[in-house]
Amino acid sequence: MHNSFLLVLVIIVALVFDFTNGFHDTANAVAPTVATGALKPRVAVLLSSCLNLVGAFLSLKVAATVASGIVQQGQIILPVVFGGLIGAIAWNVTTWYFGIPSSSSHALIGGVVGAMMAHAGGGAVIWGGITGKVLAPSIAAPIFALLIAALGTTISRRLTAKSDNTTKSWGMRVGQIGSSSLLSIAHGTNDAQKTMGVITLALVANGTLGANSTTPKWVVVLCGIAIALGTFIGGWRIIRTMGQGFTKLSPTQGFASQVTSSVVILSSSHLGMPLSTTYVATGSILGSGVGTRKRRVHWSLAGRVGVAWLLTLPCAAVFGAASFYGERLFGYTVGVLVMGALLAIYCTIIFFLSRRDQIHAGNVNDHWGEHLEAFEKSAQTADVVAAGKP
């Protein structure tokens, strides 16, 4: 099926998805740095966006997995890719509005799988690939991150217990700049590649590339730029949730969590696993809270985020399938324009709704203050109650 018009539209929407992936996931790399004041918010996102661009050029293993390991390449058509992208963007924008750190990767994979099932049925989906290369690493990686960050924070806290607080705080903040940089590179290597994989899939579907072809260089460049621009915009709502919501981060916790996230993501990227960088970063932040002396973690918020994680794949799949059916209803060429217009209207509505309770670089650490105080008070009350028990 050759359709240059449709191919160009798919590539544009894929780059829009990559952009939303960037701003949705800015928090993964910069939330602890912003929360502890190691860098000013704007400087943190600028540094992160530059290093995301660098990371996009380092490896193509994840792109290969996404292009060939999720759905049968021989049965894919461009409207399926388009529908999947529409589903993923819709889910990303929705979760961004609510400040939920959900997975852009799962949204993308869910969207494509949903659209593919609507087009060719469940037989066209490589379920083994989904289970082995997406679900298993996505469940295991945040648990690894939580345990390693908890261990790292505990050891670090004990090692530096006799250090003077000023030097310790300054040293760990400097370390955070390094660990945040490494994490941004890690994010670029894993997340930018997912969109590269989808564009490669579209090029194969259009007959522009042969099956199992490698990702062209121009795709790598465009995806790197799109994710870097998205990161620079900064998803402040999610930065607020991750930096202030789960636990009160100290520079030691911030450093331990960022180093843990970096090594988990980089080692997974190296093995071609398209895991969710968001889940890993969240696991690390929770682990750094567990590693503190009082183990104060806002588990109720973590539970709510966990529910959103469970919903991501099926909801994005439903959005993707609905988008594909919509395209088919109007005829593919007109249909993609209609669905694209509907997505644009939806994004505009969400944007204007978000203006009512705007989070930006200037207030990203302020808004959670009252919630955090309430959380600290409830934790202190719990301590008092526990101390009163025989």
């Binding site: 298993a136 295991a140 690894f144 790292g152 530096t160 250090s163 040293g171 450093f255 090594v263």
Partner: protein, 79 residues
Amino acid sequence: MTTATPLIDWHALGQVLLTSLVLGVGIVVLFSACVYSLSQFRRSGATVVVRATNAIVMTATLAAIAASVVWGLYIIIHK
């Protein structure tokens, strides 16, 4: 006769866990040792020997961290 490929690549997951555990905890421990040494180095009344020892520890830990990061990125780029 071919053997069926397992659905979940436990070997790869194990590799991720082991690498992340060694590097993640290792880097945090090394950097914490560096921060502790810096604190001792800056302490008023520290002797020349204490300062020199802590300076060596700081240099060694930072070099080890830099080497592990560069090595990790090298492997990712070149394999």
